[in-house]
């Protein structure tokens, strides 16, 4: 027990898990109905799971996907990509443009998605080249696409907010008949498994961390930092394309100004809440994805206590500050000292006592 506690209190997942636990406990006391999940039928007569938990999982899909990419970029380049929202808008526009030019069938959707991926990867290569070859800080390099991206998205569709419609689009954005879980959740699971398999069976994760921790020594050990950074920016491009496509499919149209607005900030936040250092190096994808769900759970909780959607930001800010202050080096050190000096003897004493009791019996 004591060992488990020690391991957990040093773990990266401490912050997101405790934040999630806090939210759960708060909601338990506030309204236990918050957690209810019901199986209902929607307008088309398909079975669908409904409830706050499902809407949290569904709503955080895009964020979770982008958080995966953002974690890799943060780890390798020691900075953040603030253009993800704009790139997702560009990719979504390409997706819609291709779909509207053709009849919507499965191969066409696949083709449109590949086209969106290609464009988003191109954006990633642009950002990645600036960062890795020209040695520009990631935040500044991605500022270019951040300011121009949504305008490019506008230009792709000739300035309109076109709609796409069709059962196949609904399958991706809402749900597939027969499976009561919303499709975006399935896509996140699929992508999560895929990425963790890639990291498990290749050296990409190791190399990414090596480059993030010390670029020079990684280079001396035969890793090419330029490639690693480029790859991480390409991965975040693909993530942005997936997020953009889901965003389009969810509402069936693209609004270049509104789609995934401010999501870059949330994605960075998810990485930070996940216990990852924003200064690069070691990373945990689990933490980031959990961070994304914490953010969405917080937003849903705030909505359910009738906070207007425009003011959610202010409350979110307070929570962010609380989390980062708790995770700051100074406070962490103080807490560690407190743990080692006060709590450890207490816990040890507690366990010794119980074991003594057991022995004496």
């Amino acid at each position: 027990m004591a060992k488990w506690w020690e391991k957990f209190s040093r773990s990266q997942l401490l912050v997101p898990l405790s934040a999630l636990l806090l939210l759960v406990v708060y909601n338990l006391f506030r309204d236990i109905g918050f957690f209810s999940i019901i199986l209902a039928t929607n307008n088309d007569g398909n079975a669908v799971l409904q409830g706050n938990l499902i809407s949290i999982l569904d709503g955080a899909s895009e964020l979770a996907i982008l958080a995966i990419g953002m974690t890799l970029v943060t780890a390798s380049s020691r900075g953040q990509d603030i253009s993800v929202g704009a790139v997702a808008a560009v990719a979504g526009s390409v997706f819609v443009r291709v779909l509207r030019a053709n009849e919507i069938t499965l191969p066409i959707i696949l083709f449109a998605f590949l086209a969106a991926c290609a464009v988003a990867m191109l954006c990633g290569v642009f950002n990645g080249t600036l960062v890795s070859v020209f040695k520009i800080q990631p935040m500044i390099a991605t500022l270019i696409l951040f300011s121009a991206g949504r305008s490019i998205a506008y230009w792709i569709n000739g300035g309109a907010t076109p709609t796409v419609d069709g059962p196949l689009i609904n399958y991706i954005g809402k749900l597939i008949p027969g499976i009561p879980i919303p499709s975006p959740i399935l896509i996140v699971i699929l992508l999560g498994v895929l990425v963790s398999l890639v990291l498990r069976f290749t050296n990409l994760g190791l190399y990414t961390q090596a480059v993030g921790i010390n670029e020079k020594s990684a280079h001396l050990n035969g890793i090419n930092p330029v490639w690693i950074k480029l790859i991480s920016f390409m991965v975040i491009g693909v993530c942005a394309a997936i997020a953009g496509a889901i965003g389009v499919c969810k509402i069936g149209l693209i609004n270049h100004e509104k789609i995934l607005l401010d999501i870059e900030m949330d994605a960075i936040l998810a990485v930070a809440i996940g216990g990852n250092a924003l200064g690069g190096g070691k990373f945990s994808l689990k933490g980031s994805v959990m961070g994304a769900y914490v953010i969405q759970a917080l937003t849903t909780t705030l909505y359910s206590i009738k906070v207007p959607s425009t003011s959610v930001k202010a409350y979110k800010a307070i929570v962010i500050i609380a989390i980062v202050v708790l995770g700051s080096p100074m406070i962490k050190e103080a807490l560690m000292q407190f743990r080692d000096k006060r709590m450890k003897p207490a816990i040890d004493k507690l366990f010794r006592k119980t074991s003594d009791v057991v022995e004496s019996q």
Binding site: Q80, L130, F134, K135, I136, Q137, M139, I140, A141, L143, I144, L145, F146, S147, A148, G149, R150, S151, I152, Y154, W155, G159, M265, I268, L269, A272, L278, G279, P308, T310, S311, V312, K313, A314, Y315, K316, A317, I318, I320, I321, V324, V325, G327, S328, P329, M330, I331
Partner: protein
């Protein structure tokens, strides 16, 4: 800022001119670009660009941006970043309007409120960043969220100030003698500037003085250039960083008041994306985000260049608003690449060496060094 020693560590001979510093080199490029661009616009498009009022309108419309960009320059020189400035600006406009429209609001009171809000944001963010060592990006991101959220908590709808003293101040124009233009009827209309411009210019001069001639200013460059060696030189790194954020917050407050003087309305959509414009202006003006390099005069020219290129885009017939953000992006890209190439070329070849294609701009210095 750069040492007098050349690459081999020798003290240069008497006639050896001190190599131009990074700050001044980037500043020179920016100023040349601005004047070149404006001269080109005058030649090609003429019309509005020859009208002094249109030039002064760049100042009139962007006085707040100049003020907050100055704050950002200070923070960036010290190696930090503050993306809450736009949110603080908007929050100040809303709070001041609510105060002015309330029963006994006064202009002085709203100015005090503006400064107070700015200082409060600077204080908290500065404490968190410098003493608790939290990532500046995250802290100021939270600051931005908080400010933007607070605006809608105060009022969800845009509000227009209706207090009389304030409206008189807002309508006040300073006419510039001699300079002016001829109206359609052939009458001479003197060019005029708004009071906010005076504030902006005073701020630029004050920050210029602070950066160049005070201990705090020197400390900022030292801390941004190399935190470790600044610490070893006995500079209080934490306090310097803290004051940079405090100053930036204060300037964001002033910027909010200047914004209000220009538009007279509080709105959640005020100053949207202005933090990014301010960062872009500082970068175009030659400030490096890595810290240690930068100049507030460059930032001023950064704002002017950014706005001039927008005017040029509009004058050349591309009136859709989305062209402006694309050109802003392109311009940012150009300057970022330019900085990167200039600095890496200098790093490689020692003291003052610039790529061959750039020798035209500074041939004189090149030959002397």
């Amino acid at each position: 800022m750069t040492s007098n020693l050349d690459t081999r560590g020798r003290v240069p001979a008497e006639k050896h001119k001190e190599p131009i510093s990074n700050t001044n080199l980037l500043l020179t490029i920016t100023i040349c670009t601005f004047f070149g661009m404006y001269a080109l616009a005058m030649l090609v498009w003429g019309g509005g660009f020859l009208n002094p009022q249109q030039f002064l309108d760049i100042f009139n419309n962007n006085a707040f941006l100049i003020v907050i960009s100055c704050g950002l320059t200070v923070v960036m020189i010290a190696g930090g970043i503050d993306i809450s400035v736009g949110g603080v600006t908007a929050l100040v406009t809303m709070a001041s309007v609510v105060h002015l429209n309330g029963g006994n609001g006064s202009v002085l009171g709203s100015l005090g409120l503006a400064l107070g809000i700015g200082l409060a944001f600077g204080l908290i963010q500065g404490l968190l960043v410098s003493y608790l060592e939290v990532q500046p990006f995250i802290v100021t991101l939270a600051g931005m969220f908080f400010a933007r959220g607070m605006i809608t908590i105060i009022s969800n709808d845009p509000k227009t100030a209706s207090q009389e003293t304030f409206l008189a101040l807002k309508a006040f124009r300073i006419q510039i003698p001699v300079i002016g233009y001829y109206g359609k009827a052939g009458n001479f209309i003197p060019a005029s500037i708004e009071p906010g411009v005076i504030v902006a210019i005073v701020v630029v001069l004050a920050i210029f003085f602070v950066l160049g001639w005070t201990r705090f200013g020197r400390n900022l460059y030292a801390v941004g250039g190399n935190k470790q060696s600044a610490l070893m030189l006995g500079i209080n790194v934490k306090r310097t960083k803290f004051f940079s954020y405090l100053l930036c917050g204060l300037l964001a407050g002033i910027g909010g008041f200047v914004y209000l003087l220009h538009t007279g309305a509080g709105d959640a959509a005020n100053a949207t994306a202005s933090e990014m414009q301010a960062i872009a202006s500082a970068i175009i003006g030659g400030t490096l985000l890595t810290g240690g390099v930068g100049n507030v005069v460059g930032t001023l020219f950064g704002v002017l260049s950014l706005m001039t290129i927008n005017n040029i885009v509009r004058a050349s017939g591309l009136r859709d608003p989305w062209w402006q953000s694309i050109t802003t992006g392109l311009m940012l890209c150009f300057f970022i690449l330019l900085q990167s190439m200039v600095l890496s070329a200098r790093e490689k070849r020692g003291s003052f060496q610039i790529p061959g294609w750039m020798t035209f701009a500074s041939r004189r210095i090149h030959h002397e060094s």
